[in-house]
Amino acid sequence: MTNDSSRTWPRVSFDDRMGTVEFRVSPTPHIVVDGDSCRGCSTRACVTACPANLFVPTSDGGIVFNYEQCFECGTCYLVCDTEGAISWSYPEGGHGVVFHAS
């Protein structure tokens, strides 16, 4: 909208934003990212698109992924076009994100 960074960047930190959301974290990850498949990926679509910012590029061309604060939205597997990079499922019943005010 404008290039003035004080206006385009959120005033709350990303951690504070995610701190408003309840996650009943399951001990087993529901999404697994195969960092090796990511090495050949030129789009890095997940890095921009994941609303929870869970895909972090590493200096050696891989991806580090954390499943704990996931909205279970499905964006990542839909935008990723590398076969086999993301194994996606829902967390076991009763676990994962819990919305209260939306």
Partner: protein, 447 residues
């Protein structure tokens, strides 16, 4: 017959609006129905804008407005076009909507979904929360005869267990893994093309500030739909009033987001900072941040709606209506859920649950009411709305014409609107051929 009879006639997967409506219809007909929900309570996994249009409930829950857990009744509806420095708003208000039978209301999904699920339970449905349906169970002929759940099996000690029934109704929302597992989604690989991501902040503000800022009294509420506020990503924005919070969010087309340099929260921050939006949201403290997908493909992307022993309803069938001035998914989910429930009952009573015969009436039911009639009429809208012209060129063109119209240039004489429009069209590089074609699409869709 040696095996014990199945405990349920119907299994509904997902206790969102579609699932609870389907379970309600089945239970009221006296059949046994299980309503499975993966979250700890109905609504816990669900977010939306959001406004609920309750007309679809009139026949099902008379005087629903006396008991539905709402935030505010919508009496003010704005449709806004933004450019970085301009805004144009069609701001409509009707006091007719402030009393029964009402039109729309803001509501929070944990409240609304729990309320509708409780209706299904009161009618006799068995609600089972914290349980994921992970796959369908088929008989040797391929017919769906139940689902696999992630609940341990007490008899065998296995980590999963199967639950069998005559008909399964998949109301599992936009990702729709049950319908995909059953093979009803041949075009699943193109799903991103027809899907948007919604991100939203719920902001707390004193009730009086909300009423002053939005010009409301009592339980009146406002709803703004916005285009031209999502940077380089096709999409839109929304702003809704709850009782003592407001919901502000953006909806982003996945391919555009994937190719953008801007992240969702950054685009949302830009929307909130727009001079026309900032005064509404200023000082609001974030209570909850959330994200969810929307199926926006419309009529042409609707999957096969029935398989042998299986029906699909709501977002799982892509039935959300996202057509610019309208963003309606909850009512379409309820409408299709009720029709799926009624069809399942009929099929079970007739003893035929095949897609070709017993369950074939489902699509006909949806064609005969608003669910598919509206989608059919608006089938060309989703593609148009996410096009570059609708997203970037027309907002600029429209705002420029209005700005020219209202800019006083004495001593130069005033120019006619046609001339101003022509100048702006040239400036924003809109081709007349496209303008004529899009105008025709709009007339055919909305006319």
């Amino acid at each position: 017959m040696t095996a014990a009879p199945d405990p349920f006639d119907v299994i509904v997967v997902g206790a969102g609006p579609a699932g609870s409506a389907a379970a309600l219809a089945v239970a009221r007909a006296g059949l046994r129905v299980a309503l499975l929900e993966r979250g700890p309570f109905p609504g816990s996994k669900n977010m939306y804008g959001g406004v609920i249009y309750g007309r679809v409930l009139d026949q099902v829950i008379p005087n629903w407005w006396d008991e539905i857990p709402i935030q505010r009744w919508i009496t003010r509806r704005g449709t806004m076009i933004l450019t970085p420095t301009q805004s144009l708003c069609l701001d409509f208000r009707s006091q007719t909507w402030a009393g029964p039978p009402y039109n729309g209301a803001t509501a929070l999904r944990p409240d609304f979904d729990a309320w509708l699920a409780a209706k299904a339970e009161a009618a006799g449905s068995v609600l089972v929360t914290s349980t994921v349906a992970t796959d369908v169970v088929r008989d040797p002929s391929g017919r769906v005869v139940g689902v696999v759940t992630d609940r341990p099996d007490p008899a065998t000690g296995a980590s999963t267990s199967a639950l069998r029934a005559r008909v399964v109704i998949a109301c599992d929302g936009v990702n729709s893994f049950i319908a995909k597992a059953a093979g009803l989604y041949p075009g699943a690989s193109e799903q991103a093309e027809h899907t948007t991501l919604g991100v939203k902040e719920v902001l707390r503000l004193p009730r009086e500030s909300i009423e002053q800022r939005f010009n409301l009294t009592g339980r009146e509420g406002a709803d703004f739909e916005v285009v031209g506020c999502t940077m380089d990503v096709p999409g839109g924005g929304f702003l809704y009033t709850n009782l003592d919070t407001i919901s502000v969010g953006v909806v982003l087309h996945l391919p555009g987001l994937a190719a953008s340099k801007h992240r969702p929260e950054e685009i949302l921050a830009g929307f909130k900072a727009h001079p026309s939006i900032a005064p509404f949201v200023a000082g609001g403290e974030i209570v909850e941040y959330s994200a969810h997908l929307i199926p926006e493909g419309g009529y042409d992307q609707i999957p096969t709606l029935a398989g042998d022993g299986l029906l699909v309803a709501g977002d799982a069938a892509g039935l959300c209506l996202a057509a610019g001035v309208w963003l309606e998914g909850v009512n379409f989910a309820i409408g299709s859920g009720l029709a799926a429930g009624a069809t399942a009952v009929e099929a079970i009573r007739s003893g035929d649950t095949t897609a070709a015969r017993g369950l074939a009436g489902y699509r006909a039911r949806l064609e005969a009411n608003f669910v598919l009639a509206d989608h059919k009429k608006l089938r060309r809208v989703p593609e148009f709305l996410l096009s570059g012209r609708a997203q970037f060129q027309y907002p600029q063109l429209t705002c420029d014409v209005v700005e020219d119209l209202f800019t006083v240039r004495n001593p130069a004489p005033k120019q006619g609107i046609a001339r101003l429009a022509w100048k702006s069209a040239r400036r924003s590089r809109v081709r007349l051929r496209d303008l004529a074609r899009d105008g025709w699409t709009a007339i055919r869709s909305y006319g």
